[in-house]
Assembly symmetry: C2
Homo-oligomer: 237 residues x 2
DNA sequence: CGCGGCTTTGATGTTCATCAAGTAAAGTGG
DNA sequence: CCACTTTACTTGATGAACATCAAAGCCGCG
């Protein structure tokens, strides 16, 4: 179920303003203008605020969702609490896992920051796949690459210890914001859920990194002082 | 690089003897007989022995591989040793991760038991995707489902402790062999690499399960004495 | 302004890896 | 076929990594 918060706008083909949108690239490379126009007409953009739920675990899968702006989290709700599968970044497919394989979502998605998502009918995407092999092939390639990254990130993470995991998360966000100074968009608790460790130890590890003058911390605000050592920690711990 | 061990046979369309083959089902449901015949002619079947390497991490991806018979392991070769990603069972796609998304394999695949794989040119599959949307859609659905299972299994595993992980592996094999008495097809070391724990603790855990009369063990031979308790351990530990 | 959630630190105990040392099994070359 | 080497398996002892518990400060929000 899509949670419509602020507004949504219908764009026609020529107004697609998603400059860097992978999906748009796939479309323009493979789809006839007429076909595209029809498709774009049924597409809606939705602006969402932090904590708004885009996808709810257990809901039937009707839509195909793409992240245009902002950050979202994909997470599973389990007996032992939430487990964050992946952080969705701009131009990521939010509908990645399960979309074509299952009837119901096996995970939830909620906004971390103010975000803009692009929602299409799954049926429309399936129709395109059926009618347009070039589109299908590019879609397969893109999705294959993206799920790979989630899985291999996870495999990497599981071979690291506390320090390496926290270092990895910090470097990740530094790269997302393209800056060694940034505000952590997620809570300590969410970091814990993302890397699979206790909140207390996430905090302790961050404190230690601060004491060792590798980072500076003021609440959510992070400054990476020594990226080189942080990267060493990521690979050795 | 495909390692040709014993023999390989070229089948024509009508000789496709893969009764339960998912891929065959996709083909027959979506492909014209003429198209199919051409495709099947270029397909080869290869029989492999335990430890034979089917896919080598780092090699370029040229083929699409499907497992007809036997068991294989998908694993990453890392600095910290091998990490088993998944056990491939009959009718699984061996080429699942990375096939369409990457140039080179990010993982290796080797046979656990005597196995039969079906090898197709990746180009041929891509050609089918391009020309036949119905085929593309069914392929996407099948692959989506399979990668999901690998990822979610992994997420489940990471929330369990030793006992739960070992119990899970034992139950998995029991289900593969459809019998509560079976021979473990992998070594203790491989179980350790699969669930992410030390060899010693895999052995210790198995020994404890034996002492508690939940299983019987003679070397590789396993008898599950109390499936109910084993399943409880899987979900609670 | 008080309540609940987030953050932080210290103390404690559990889970697990690692080390060590030995046995059994399986492959290897003469 | 047997000595030999290597690999797999097993158990106990130790210590490291980590979760959990407890207590307190902080912040936002109704």
């Amino acid at each position: 179920m899509i949670f419509i918060i602020c507004f949504f706008t219908i764009f026609t083909a020529m107004e697609c303003n998603c400059e860097l949108c992978d999906l748009k690239n796939i479309f323009f490379a493979t789809i006839e203008p007429s076909e595209l126009e029809e498709f774009c007409a049924s597409r809606i953009e939705i602006t969402i605020a932090p904590k708004d739920i885009v996808i709810k675990q257990g809901d039937p899968i009707h839509d195909f969702v793409y992240l245009k702006e902002g950050l979202v989290k994909l997470y599973r709700e389990t007996d032992a609490g939430n487990q964050i599968i992946s952080i969705g970044k701009p131009f990521d497919f939010v509908s990645l896992l399960s979309v074509f394989g299952e009837e119901k979502y096996q995970y939830s998605v909620s906004a971390i920051t103010d975000s803009v998502i692009c929602v299409m009918k799954l049926q429309d995407i399936q129709k395109l796949i059926l009618e347009n092999g070039a589109f299908a092939l590019r879609l397969i390639k893109t999705m294959n690459k993206a799920t790979d990254r989630i899985l291999f990130d996870y495999l990497d993470n599981s071979q690291k210890r506390l320090y390496g995991r926290v270092a990895h998360v910090l470097i990740d966000f530094s790269e997302i914001f393209n800056n060694e100074t940034f505000d952590l968009p997620i809570s300590r608790k969410e970091i814990a859920q993302l890397v699979g460790m206790s909140i207390e130890n996430v905090i302790r590890t961050i404190s230690e990194l601060r004491k060792d003058k590798i980072i500076n911390v003021f609440g959510k605000s992070i400054v990476i002082l020594d990226m080189h050592r942080l990267k060493q920690i990521r690979s050795n711990n």
